[in-house]
Symmetry: D2
Subunit: 134 residues, 4 copies
């Protein structure tokens, strides 16, 4: 499980006094970026040098509790499925141990012609190592 | 079917050269706001005077084609389910007739104690009238 | 004077109940994009084919009245200064004839090595024609 | 001087490959929120219980160097002017010791009728203490 912490700022709120609902997708995207970085993958170099980048293919999300300005959120990311050119991550957001948000995100890697690209052997090895898969 | 058009600006893009994936949720939220307005519901008055507001309970979304700066997008919203205190909308984004994004969004109405609030008789009548339901 | 209209949505507000202050810079950036488009410049093609893009060098802004969800805003853009590789635009936001926001923005054009690039003869001619300069 | 660190994520970038220019205002706003928190002011309680909130009255900003995905930014905030109901902060963003962005922001406090509100004696004392003013 990969853990990432973030805090709610003014920019994240809306006039309902809560976090504006699409902003949770920013929080979990930050967590994925730090997860990918932890695998020794430099996303910016990947994009600039190899023209490869990750894209979200689909998302399901449940909003369970509101989050507010000043909240300290913990994003917990686990692997659900690892395929040759995509993976599914489960990403939950917790506040003081209570679940605020639950989601499932399918990520794919695209190449310079914007076509699906198989994950490299290195990438697969790092992902498996991180999640302790065989 | 409620139709709303929007255009992709610099603010919507990311370094991958496409629309940043959470921003599609902003586009469909704009469409819902205009849909709600078309039902003669003033969301700001509802919030300030009655402390009631709509929240997203869950979302599923498929990213089918990328969208780019300058694209003119059409958001098509239809009703999937109407319950006493929530409804499910199907919201698709098209560009030149091709589907870019497909989603399903459950909306609920909350009251001043942030509890689910039944839709008013007027609101239900307007929703049914718009979608030509009995 | 180039005029562009936009509307305030949920995404633009914050928990203070108003438009979140950096979002005015998105509104005026939309207006500049439509202004540049009106000069027959395709910003996306310019970026992808010539690796040239406009950047903001500096901004001054005064927040004069709050803007709220549902407001219809009018952005009025005029030219203050036109130099070889930069220009200054005055951009005001009005609501029902009252000034909400006032700003001055210096824009420069950068080339593929991220260095200042002189505006093309065509671009200068279009800008002068639009603002009726000699 | 109040120091706050933040990192650039995908959400902050645009198709130019850099940080989208209004997003710097989000970064410095986060720094101000943490600064205000460090003065023992709970902005959310202030808003909900006393209907008071800080607003930006004006901004000047210079963009000196681009910032990119993955950059670790340091925001340095100093006090320029302290008046009865407003203050001016200088906020610089640095990356590896080099200045990326420079700004000056006038903040005011508003009350429940959205009129300027004098800073409380406690608030003034905390601000002066932090910046070692007499």
């Amino acid at each position: 499980m990969f853990q990432y912490n973030c805090e709610v700022f003014y920019e994240d709120t809306d006039m309902g006094g809560r976090v504006y609902h699409p902003n949770y997708f920013k929080f979990i995207e930050r967590a994925r970026s730090k997860f990918i970085e932890s695998l020794n993958i430099d996303q910016r170099a990947l994009l600039l040098e190899e023209k490869k980048f990750f894209v979200v293919k689909n998302i399901t999300a449940d909003y369970q509790l509101p989050a507010y300005f000043g909240d300290n959120l913990v994003i917990c990311t686990t692997l659900v499925e690892l395929k040759k050119a995509s993976m599914v991550l489960k990403q939950e957001i917790l506040r003081e141990g209570k679940k605020v948000f639950d989601s499932s995100v399918r990520l794919a890697l695209l190449n310079s012609s914007e076509r699906p690209e198989k994950f490299s052997v290195d990438m697969v090895r790092e992902i498996k190592k991180f999640f302790k898969l065989k």
